[in-house]
Symmetry: C2
Subunit: 208 residues, 2 copies
DNA sequence: CTCTGTGAACATCTTCACAGCT
DNA sequence: AGCTGTGAAGATGTTCACAGAG
């Protein structure tokens, strides 16, 4: 299969959400135009994105809402459940652990870790916070597929390295620092301070 | 000035963080190569990004760490303080309100809102949660520059529209839905479920 | 006639490679 | 000699526009 761009994958997620919405409203088919409007892009982009995986639409009619949603779930890898651990039981880590949206989309929280002994033993989002003395061993034992890292910036790279050694293949990094994937692990960064700074830049430009 | 790409602005933020780090380690100059390594990009990219704003480096030497940091702060609009409000006092909203990293970078939390009366009156991150009966009026009174939106997906667009009318020019949207900027407001989306799905896609591809 | 699927045109972003300043 | 600054080349992503299926 052709290499799919990152932005394209992100849009597929948005399409899926729009389709679930359309399904909830009882719509049976949807045009690329309507799907684009609901996802903040253009109809040509929608068709191009979808055409990379096959021909799902009916000319003159549009796409079957339920069918396309099912296809997208398959493409995105949401046809199975994923085991996730959260490393760092600070404010953000706890908020994420309690967020049910992840579970609804196939991501099950199976473990949580913190190096601060005061936080160990607390029960959050259905799991008990563990310490880090046997971190790699514990993560491996939990058979985690994906880890969410919410530790301070200076600890992030070390945690990522350990996670890779423990067999975690996907990492969502909330630490405000660039981390390198050790082996072939997939890394995505969510950097909220950076987003605010990008807004500050945009506003500064507009004001000049 | 030339139009600067979004990815370029994001990298400037990363450079700034790397520079602050280098400054803390007492380094006086830094090469594009070193800056690239610390930010996860290439030296050519660093030089290209910086060259769009002028010639800050010294050939044969590199960039002055303190000087370049100051320049980047100016470019990014971090030479002033920004007033932010958080709309939605749920788990994520509260976690963000308590996060001090924003303040350190020039973003002051000046107000917080929630439509749930049970949450109104609670004190979080130095402000008291307000209700929404006089939402637009209150936001305008706070002279907010930027808003962080952490309300449920179905309420997000309405909130964004109201914020625009209240004079807010930049919006950081955490709701998992595409929102349209009403007037010229700048919008950025942080969609954590989407990032997890992109990871699921990457892992599914690797496994095939 | 409507709306998809797609090559081709266009635009944007990244990398290369080297001239030229210090 | 070392390292920046930058045109030019190359790669990637988006939009156009239309043939063709239903």
């Amino acid at each position: 299969m052709k290499r799919i761009s990152d932005s394209s994958v992100r849009r597929l997620s948005l399409y899926l959400r729009a389709l679930e919405d359309a399904l909830a409203h009882g719509r049976a088919t949807i045009s690329s135009e309507a799907l684009a409007r609901a996802s903040g892009t253009t109809s040509a982009q929608v068709r191009k994105d979808l055409s990379m995986f096959g021909s799902f639409g009916k000319r003159g009619l549009g796409y079957g809402v339920a069918e396309l949603a099912e296809r997208l779930r398959g493409i995105l890898g949401l046809g199975r459940r994923w085991r996730i651990v959260i490393v760092g039981a600070g404010k953000i880590g706890i908020a994420l652990a309690q967020y049910h949206g992840f579970r609804d989309r196939g991501f099950d929280l199976v473990g949580m870790f913190d190096r601060d002994p005061d936080r160990v033993g607390r029960r959050v989002g259905g799991v008990t916070v563990r310490g880090v003395n046997r971190f790699e061993h514990d993560v491996r034992g939990l058979a985690a597929d994906v880890a969410i890292v919410t530790v301070p910036a200076d600890a992030a790279q070390g945690v990522v390295d350990q996670l890779s050694r423990a067999g975690v293949r996907g990492i969502l990094n909330f630490a405000p620092t660039a981390v390198r994937a050790t082996d072939g692990a997939a890394i995505r960064n969510v950097n909220m301070a950076l987003e605010l700074e990008a807004l500050a830049y945009a506003l500064t430009q507009g004001a000049d």
